[in-house]
Structure formats: C-alpha cells, structure tokens
Amino acid sequence: MRTPPPKLSDPSAPLLGITDLAAGYRTRKLTTVTLAGVTLQVGCGDLIALVGPNGAGKSTLLRTITGLQAPLEGRTELVGRNVASMNRRDRARHIALVLSERIEANGLMVRDVIDLGRHPYTPMSGTFAETDDEAVLEAIEATGVGPLLDRRVTELSDGERQRVSIARAVAQQPALLVLDEPTAYLDPRARVSVIRLLRDLIQAGRFAAIVSTHDLELVVPHCTAVWVAAAGTVVAGAPTDPIVRAAAMQHLGARFVDRDATTHVEYEV
C-alpha cells in the first residue's frame, strides 16, 4: 500500500487549525450564531469524535470546516491555507466528505461511484490518468469493497453503501476526511464495521478524520480527541481530559471510564 503524498511541509504544524471561529447562518434580516469562540486543531493521524446534542451545531461546524458554508468570523486553515479562499477543486483535493444520507445514484455501479472520488483530479472529459487508476485500486483494497464492484449501488445494504461512500472518499486522497453522522441509519453490526474501517484507514496513515456521531461508545475508544459541541461553543481535548469529561457528562449524560488503557463510555440515564 502506498500512502498518499505528503501534503504538509512542516510536520509539526497542525493539519487543520481553527481560530476564533463563529459559525451560523446569515440571512438578509438576521444572523443566527450557532457556535462562537471556537478554537480547535487537528493533527496528522488524528481521529476526532465530534459529539453533542442535536441542534448543538455539529453539522454547522462541519459545513464550515469543509468550506461549504462561509464562517461568520475567524479562520479555518488547512495545511496552512485559508479554506474559505481555496477554490472548489483544490478544496476537494484536501477534504472529503461522508454523509449519513443513503447514496441513491440511479443506475451507477459501485465502481462508478468510487471513480467519482477522482472528480477533482480529472480533466473536463473525465479521462483517467494512471495515478487515478492507482488511487481507485488502492481505495478498493483499503476498504475491502472488491466483491461489490459490479453491483448497482441501489442493490446494496445500507452498511455496504456507507463502505462504498468511504471508498469513494479514500479515492479522493484527502488530507482530512469529514464524516457527518456516518452511522446514523445503520444497524449495530454495520456501525461497528464502519467505525473499525475508519480506524484502520487512519492507522494506515491515509488522513485525519473528524466524525460527528451519537455513537460515543463506538467512536470514543478509538479517538485521539473529543470535541463536545454544546451551549454555543465547542469544548475540545483528549478523551482523558477532565474538562471534556465534565462537558460530556453535563450535555450528554455520558461517563468516560478508563479501562484496559482505553477510554470507554457509559451512560447515566
């Protein structure tokens, strides 16, 4: 397996740096601030669990990080460059997205969907270069979707679709993978398999990832940091950080317990 080319010249600098960010929606009449005073960092190889109650601004934060929504204030820098000022293609080469929504893609085969990951690299004609073929092959191997390639996306189970969606994101060769509740509509078995796949991909050094999720007990044991979105801001730190634990307890009723050198999650109801 070949790791993606390094996209960072200075390894000590953070991959993603968010400074004094305010995010929300601005309409003609009023501005709704969902999150303010957010300062966060993601390093290479990080797996971030973004947790918080519904409506706390998890999706808003992810939309702002991925540049799909302009920040109200502050900056988001990826590999030292302002995300808001990157062009679409350039941004797509650095950040990939996986959503909870089921991909429909009428008539597309699994291999077609994975090929779409090369969209930001191919010319207008969509012609593949050798590097594109390699990237797709690698993504197929890394995610184990080989047996699904010649099936229609619409024939797959929800768990298989999400795996294909991740394979597509891997083919995109991003520095940062953003997943917005990737396990939301999956059955328990598929949830575990998707999170394990994600952990393996990060351990293989492919990218850093931010996962927004309600499945704390699945993600927290594998993550390097937890971001708790609540009360208009984000509290961030290692899973062992007492401030993070207090926030998780207060807003989610989740107790972090250290066992076997990992942090596990129990709920207080």
Binding site: A96, N106, M109, L148
Partner: protein, 368 residues
C-alpha cells in the same frame, strides 16, 4: 480505460450475471450493443423512407437518392419533400426529447421526470403561442416557420421551457420529495396550459383550430429549413450534454456530495437546464408537444448499456431515442392509407408501460 481490472470479484459473477456482463470489459459489449442500436436506427431510417401511403421499392429509393436526375419524378418528390424531412425530423426529435428526459431525470434525481411530466413542454407551447400571437403571423403558420421565423419560435420555445424548469427546480429544492415535485410539475403544466387556452380564446377560430392540430404532435410537414434548425438545436443540445457528462455523474450522488467533490453546482445546473430547454423547445416548436419519449427512452438506454455513466448513457439515449421515434412514426402509418394515427397515442403506448414498470420495480419513491 477508466476502470481498474485486476480487482478480484468473486461471488458477484454468479450472483449478478446481468450486471457483470456489461462491465466485464469496459467498452467491449457496450460498443457491440451500441453498434446494434446504430444498425437498427439505419434500418428504421430506410424503412421510414420506403414505407408510407405509397410503397417505394429500395431500388427506387436509392435511384432518386443518389442520382441527381432521372428516375420516377413522383417518387423523387415523395422522397425528397415528404419522407426525408419526416425521417430527419423524427430522428432529431427523438434523440432531443430522449436526451432532455435523461437530463431532467438526473437533474431532479427522479426516474419519472421528463419534459411532459414537469410541464416543460407546456412552457415551450406557451413560448410558441406568445410569439405567433404577438407577431403579425397568424397561428395558422405554426408548423410552417420559415427562415428567421424558425429561429424565433425555437428561441421562444426554449425560453418557455427554461422558465418552467427553473420554477419546478426551485419548487423541488423547497419540498424535496420526488413525488410532490411531479405533482408540482403537473400543476405548473396545467397553469401554463390554461394560459395558452386563454390566448387561444382571443385568437381567431382558424388559429385556434390549427393550434389544436399542432398540439396533437407530428413529425410530418416540416420543411428542410425547419429540419436544419431542429438539427442544429439538437446537435448543440447533445453537445452540451456530452460536455457536462462528468458533472452529471456527480449530480447523481446528491447536492452535498457533488459540492464536496469540487463541482460548481450552480453552473452545472444552469448549463443542464439550458441544454434540456433547448432540446425540448426546438422539438416542441416543430413537432408539437410529444410525450413519453423523454420518460421511457433513458430507461431503455440504461438497460442497453447497463450503466448510469452519462458518457455512455447520453450516446445510447440519443441513438435509441431516434430509433424509437422512427419506430413510433412507422407504427402511426399502420392504417396503410392517407390516415395516420396521432403520434402521441403511439408514444403513450410505448411509454406508459415503462412508467408502470419503473413504479413496480422500485422501492416506494421518496423513501429515503
């Protein structure tokens, strides 16, 4: 070759024989199937020139086609001023309507979208009615646009189509549910149709009569100049669709995914609408509103090339659309004398079962 080959695919070969066959050797069987479609299209073109109220033997047809003088003068007139224009009109209209249907199905991510269902044909009719009523021409001249008039009417019809597409697309963005969008399209079509009836009410009886004849739809009675304009618009629309094919694939994943792949969604949508509107508008201006080709043919094409990739799908859709239109036109001559079945009745007989098949085969639409 865009697809990786070396990847192992066990099990799937037996479990999904139909889906494997098409992608076994990218290009291979697909090209064969497209070649068969081309041959079928050529046969239908020959049949369309040979068959009609008077039977012309292939030898006679070839004689008047390829020799500048001599031969049967009656046959010469029939071939050059009736059957060839009709053949090329059906060919262009079929590929244009089918491709515009494909574009709309992708744009709305809805397998039941087409120009008739979404009210786009109605928008084109309104454009035609406005131009013809607004100018010094009477409506009698519909279907007989000459010179600059042909361009004007095409532009008006395309503008009407584009306006309706924009309205329905903005409704689609608000409501989300595919079923509601189809109902909204029907409502817009009804509204536009009502407006056209009001226009007709204030026009002369002759004009109203000729308009209703036009609105039955027909591939007949077009002049060579009209065929030239229709062909130009069809080629331009197909070219634009082909140019967009990579981004159309992306649209299938949904808005957020396509934006995350670096697509300029707004630009892609506007170009897709422009292309679909041009294709529908030009066809409707010269042939009247023709239903079901846009709806049914993309499904035939998907079955033939067995892929959702637009680069292959657009070619297949245009080819099969042309062939289907020619076949429908041939069936419409079935009475065998001067009488001809209304083309919309024939296309409905072909298209409506496809809709039912799509409805039965799919999970309930809107469940997502």
């Amino acid at each position: 070759m865009s697809q990786p080959q070396q990847t192992p695919r066990p099990r799937t070969r037996r479990a999904h024989p139909t889906t494997v066959a098409g992608s076994e050797q990218p290009g291979g069987p697909q090209v064969v199937r497209l070649a068969i479609a081309v041959v079928a299209l050529l046969c239908l073109m020959v049949a369309s020139v040979a068959l009609g109220s008077v039977w012309l033997s292939p030898a006679k047809v070839i004689e008047v086609l390829f020799r500048s003088t001599g031969g049967d003068p009656v046959a010469r007139t029939i071939v050059w001023s009736v059957r060839l224009p009709r053949t090329f009109t059906a060919l262009c209209a079929g590929s244009a309507l089918a491709t515009s249907g494909l574009l709309m199905q992708t744009l709305f991510r809805n397998p039941l979208a087409d120009s008739a269902v979404l009210g786009v044909s109605a928008g084109a009719s309104l454009g035609v009615a406005l131009v013809v009523l607004g100018s010094s021409n009477s409506l009698i001249s519909i279907g007989r646009f000459e010179g600059a008039g042909a361009f004007g009417v095409t532009a008006a019809a395309a503008a009407g189509s584009a306006a309706v597409l924009l309205i329905v697309l903005s409704i689609a963005h608000r409501v989300g549910s595919p079923v509601i969008v189809l109902v909204a399209g029907l409502m817009v079509a009804t509204m536009v149709g009502a407006f056209v009836s009001v226009l007709m009410y204030f026009s002369s009886l002759d004009a109203a009569r000729s308009f209703s004849v036009w609105s039955l739809g027909s591939f007949r009675g077009t002049s060579w100049r009209e065929v030239a304009v229709l062909a130009g618009a069809t080629i331009a629309g197909l070219g634009a669709a082909w140019f967009l094919s990579k981004s159309l694939d992306g649209l299938l994943l949904g808005d957020r995914y396509s934006a995350s792949l670096g697509m300029n969604l707004r630009a892609v949508r506007i170009l897709t609408i422009a292309s679909a509107a041009l294709l529908t508008g030009a066809t409707t201006a010269f042939c009247g509103p023709i239903g079901f080709l846009g709806l049914a043919v993309p499904h035939f094409a998907r079955a033939v090339v067995r892929t959702g990739r637009h680069r292959s799908l657009i070619v297949a859709t245009a080819l099969i659309g042309a062939a289907t239109a020619l076949a429908c036109e041939l069936v419409a001559q079935w009475p065998g004398d001067d009488r001809v079945l209304p083309i919309n009745a024939v296309t409905a007989l072909v298209g409506a079962p496809v809709v039912l098949w799509v409805l039965i085969r799919r999970r309930p639409m809107g469940s997502q």
